[in-house]
């Protein structure tokens, strides 16, 4: 499926660019800026509040174009774009969000959004991050612990979180609210064989599945919920719950790796990501940029897209994302200081096809076992 999509979109891209071979490979910034300036503004729906940061730097760099950033959850962006397309009231010019499987299936395949890869970046971004839609960065959801209270990461395996020692001390973000945690859970189920192998490694025996449960991935979710896991509504509240200093018995919790940046905002936060957990430390998901069909400010949208992808140092428009826990897709951009490269971390990557086909089933399992 994904291949077909990629081939189709490649074809359409080729068609788009074939009319002027000279344009392909080189990015004419000035020409695009002049066209964008005539449009005067650009509306972006963003899953991330950092839209205001790169919006400001964009406005400074390209005077005459105003950035109207609108910060909302990924599912809401999809709902809104669907509504705008059927109402023919085109507000969003460009969208910046998580959950690529939904975007591809519900918007891209129905030709409501299209892909745009700035020509000068084509050689710098691996094909998997260019097709079907441009990936801005990869983000990782992992487990954090309070490093003021605990001198070292307290667990070595995901399975330890299901033991009595951690009863009521594990926080998981609400997947009913944040679709990236459906991706995380679905990816764990997808890799159930590795989960089973890890169980054997930790406990020295084969896992016994509870009745009615299909595989070790589901079993892990089941046991986590039965271990009185605490559900919170946002990744930043997890960071605060785990990381705030002066706690007698701080919990551990899943959250966005990039929440580490909160420590600058609030010096009372003391937490770190556990980088040595088996079978994986977490799940990598992708954040994508798509151009909305019939947008009123298409050139400004493209210019903004180019700005967001930044320079070779991870600077200018990319700067807000050049932090630990966000991983650039440009091969020429180094990992931020103190951070490893994505490929060096023990991670599973969320597979959009699997998430599209099984994510809801996994979420249903979660809801059915919330006791």
């Amino acid at each position: 499926m994904r291949k077909v999509v990629s081939v189709l979109s490649l074809l359409s891209l080729v068609l788009c660019f074939s009319f002027s071979n000279a344009a392909a490979g080189s990015f004419n910034e000035e020409e695009l800026y002049q066209a964008a300036k005539k449009e005067g503004e650009v509306n972006i729906y963003s899953y991330s509040s950092r839209v205001f940061k790169f919006g400001k730097t964009f406005e400074a760099k390209y005077p005459g174009i105003k950035v109207n950033g609108f910060d909302m959850d990924s599912p809401e962006i999809v709902t809104k774009v669907l509504a705008e397309q059927s109402a023919k009231n085109y507000v969003a010019d460009v969208i910046f969000l998580k959950d690529p499987s939904t975007v591809v299936n519900e918007l891209y395949n129905k030709k409501l959004v299209s892909n745009y890869v700035p020509a000068d970046l084509e050689a710098l971004i691996p094909a998997e991050y260019r097709e079907p839609l441009l990936v801005h960065h990869a983000s990782v959801d992992a487990i954090i612990y309070n490093n003021e209270k605990m001198s070292a990461p307290p667990i070595k395996s995901l399975w330890e979180l299901t033991t009595p020692e951690w009863k009521g001390r594990v926080i998981f973000p609400d997947p009913q609210k944040m679709s990236e945690y459906v991706e995380v859970l679905a990816t764990i189920v997808q890799h159930s064989d590795e989960m089973a192998a890890d169980y054997k490694k930790v406990f020295g025996k084969d896992i016994e599945l509870s009745s009615g449960i299909e595989n070790a991935g589901y079993e892990w979710i089941f046991r986590l919920l039965n271990n009185d896991a605490i559900i919170l509504g946002s990744t930043n509240s997890v960071a605060e719950a785990v990381g705030l200093s002066d706690q007698a018995n701080p919990p551990v919790g899943f959250t966005a790796y990039s929440r580490l940046r909160d420590k600058e905002k609030n010096p009372k936060l003391k937490f770190d990501v556990m980088l040595d957990v088996s079978p994986v430390i977490g799940v990598a998901t992708e954040v994508i940029i798509a151009q909305v069909n019939e947008a009123k400010h298409p050139n400004a949208a493209k210019l903004l897209t180019r700005w967001m992808m930044g320079d070779e140092k991870g600077g200018n428009g990319y700067e807000p994302y050049f932090v630990m826990g966000n991983f650039p897709v440009r091969t020429d951009v180094p990992a931020p200081e103190g951070s490893k490269n994505l490929s060096e971390l023990k991670l599973w990557k969320a597979d959009p096809d699997y998430v599209w086909n099984s994510g809801q089933q996994v979420l249903d399992f979660w809801v059915a076992h919330l006791k």
Binding site: L232, G233, A241, V242, A368
Partner: protein, 595 residues
């Protein structure tokens, strides 16, 4: 000359009566803003949506299916999306209604019938808890009674006493009931004190002369007389709590205490709206049943209603030694329900780091700071932030236009219902205008999104327009203004209008000179209620706003989610200030308009 058929001329006569014409026009409007969305909701629950392809491999978008109904009523999920949330919704709503009615009516009795000091002041501040958005009470509770279950900083209670509050005190049923009761008792207070002041206290006095004890009088005379007011406050509170989302979400989720409203919200945001709609039907069914029972009870108690007439005097019951203890209790209530949350929220806007209340770290940065990329992702303080000021303007515009339009329509609804009392047409108008009250805000918003993102019939696609946001607020709040006008019109006989009709006054004249002045009081009190409600409206409009039409509430929600407590608190303070100003202003307006 053509001979007209007698039944046709009867029809012509019928149609010429102004309240019939008004009823018919109203029905057309209500059909469009209430019934069509409702029908669409029913239809959608039986149709595969495109997003359902995630749920089932057999999904055929656009085709008929019972899948959503099966999912809610008989699947592995039934227990957790229907049964337990339903139980929780019912128990919290009933408990909140009972507590709110108790507090509200006791307070009303103290203010209207006893010699408690500072009665005027008490009457004014009693409305304030409703002005403060209810999630602020929830957040204040968490700040006070948070235990270490969800990590982070301990609450003030634990900090001061060293005792770790048990889970049942920190989260779930009890805190939800307490905070919502505090928020909703003003409903009962307003309705019951209005009833008490209009009852002739001579009825109570004659009981006294006949030697009845005080409690006996309260039980046998006063209580039956205010019963209708109590029952309507029960309906208002009960159905309101049933549809409340924020408080149960904040206080319930940490202990997995879900209610129907939180389940509706998560299904709709997960884009399984059909399931959300079905859960909304369950809510509507419960509210309707409660209202039906309620109306039966009011119907019975109607025989008690006395025509008070003007000029009776009210004798205050002396409280004696109880005077000051009771006053202290009231002061305590206001400290807990108004002062404490307000102080907490203002303080939060001044804290440099969220949750750090030390004086050393106080700052005005989040109010008047310039855009500085080191803080809050580079956003300027709220008073300098064009996006927030724009949203403030939107909020005011929205609240004013929605409440004016709802008030205006309310006058006509009141007229049509009261004039056509006991006719099918009138009761149809009344019931239809009340329907939106039963649909939870988020479901109503989702419906409007689904419905008005296409053009249908002569109506263009309205999604993205300010008008649509205003329209949904008008539709949802019609029950307030309709009710208010109906109540005030019922008190006035139809003789006035009939007299002027006999004297040959045209309808437009009668409307301007008689109907409007007589109903304006009701319309204004409805207007105020709608203004306050729309200023704080979140779930109803969150799916419908765009960058151009966003409001203060939608912004405070985002900031809260992102963890910028200072910004979200500062915006909440702005909302409260605007609401209080609006209320004071309309009180002035109300005085001028009175006759």
């Amino acid at each position: 000359m053509k001979r007209t058929h007698p039944s046709f001329s009867r029809f012509k006569n019928y149609i010429r009566r102004p309240h019939i014409v008004i009823s018919l026009i109203l029905l057309a409007i209500l059909l469009f803003i209430v019934l069509v969305p409702f029908a669409r909701m029913i239809r959608d629950s039986f149709i595969w949506q495109f997003a359902d392809t995630r749920l089932s491999r057999n999904a055929l978008p656009g085709e008929f299916t019972l899948f959503h109904w099966k999912r809610v009523f008989s699947s592995a999920l039934t227990q957790n999306i229907l049964v337990r949330p339903l139980f929780n919704s019912l128990t919290t709503s009933l408990s909140v209604s009972a507590c709110a009615m108790f507090i509200g009516s006791m307070l009303a009795w103290l203010v209207a019938r006893t010699d408690i000091p500072f009665r005027k002041t008490i009457a004014t501040v009693a409305v304030l808890p409703y002005v403060i958005p209810s999630y602020i009470h929830a957040l204040a509770w968490i700040n006070l009674f948070k235990n270490d279950r969800i990590g982070g900083a301990a609450g003030v209670f634990q900090y001061l006493t060293g005792i770790v509050p048990p889970d049942w005190l920190s989260y779930g049923y009890l805190p939800i009931v307490v905070t919502l009761s505090i928020h909703y008792f003003p409903f009962t207070f307003l309705l019951v004190s209005a009833a008490l002041t209009s009852i002739d206290s001579r009825l109570e006095e004659s009981g006294e002369i006949l030697g009845a004890s005080r409690t006996h009088i309260l039980r046998r005379i006063t209580f039956p007389l205010v019963l209708p007011a109590l029952l309507s406050s029960f309906i208002l509170t009960f159905s309101r709590v049933l549809g409340t989302f924020g408080t149960p979400y904040f206080l319930g989720t940490p202990v997995r205490y879900f209610t129907l409203s939180t389940q509706i919200y998560s299904n709709i945001t997960n884009r399984i709206p059909s399931v959300g709609y079905i859960l909304a039907f369950v809510l509507i069914a419960i509210s309707s049943a409660v209202i039906y029972i309620n109306q039966k009870m009011i119907g019975k108690s109607k025989s008690y209603v006395t025509i008070g007439g003007k000029g009776f005097r009210v004798t205050d019951t002396p409280l004696g030694r109880m005077q000051y203890p009771l006053l202290a209790l009231i002061v305590l209530l206001f400290l807990a329900s108004v002062v404490l949350p307000l102080v907490l929220i203002v303080w939060q806007t001044l804290a440099l780091y969220p949750g750090d209340y030390s004086l050393r770290h106080l700052t005005l940065l989040f109010w008047i700071g310039e855009a500085n990329t080191a803080f809050a992702e580079g956003e300027a303080g709220v008073l300098r932030n064009p996006a927030i000021l724009g949203a403030a303007w939107n909020s005011i515009k929205l609240a004013l236009s929605a409440s004016a339009l709802a008030g205006f329509l309310g006058i006509f609804i009141g007229y049509a219902v009261v004039k056509g009392r006991n006719t099918k047409l009138a009761s149809m108008v009344e019931q239809m205008s009340f329907l939106p009250y039963l649909v939870p805000g988020i479901a109503f918003g989702a419906l409007y999104l689904a419905l008005f993102s296409h053009s249908f019939g002569p109506i263009p696609a309205l999604y993205g327009t300010f008008f649509l946001v205003a329209l949904v607020c008008v539709a949802k709040n019609l029950p307030f203004t309709g009710r208010a006008v109906i109540t005030s019109m019922l008190q006035i006989g139809s003789e006035l209008e009939e007299a002027s009709e006999t004297l040959g006054a045209r309808w437009s004249m009668r409307f301007r000179k008689i109907i409007l002045p007589l109903s304006i009081q009701g319309a204004i009190s409805g207007f105020v209620l709608v203004f306050i409600t729309v200023m704080r409206e979140l779930s109803l409009i969150i799916l419908l706003v765009t960058p151009q039409t966003r409001t203060l509430t939608t912004m405070t929600f985002r900031y809260q989610e992102q963890g910028y407590t200072q910004f979200s608190s500062a915006i909440s303070v702005m909302i409260i200030v605007i609401v209080i100003f609006g209320e004071l202003f309309s009180k002035k307006l109300g005085k001028k308009g009175s006759i």
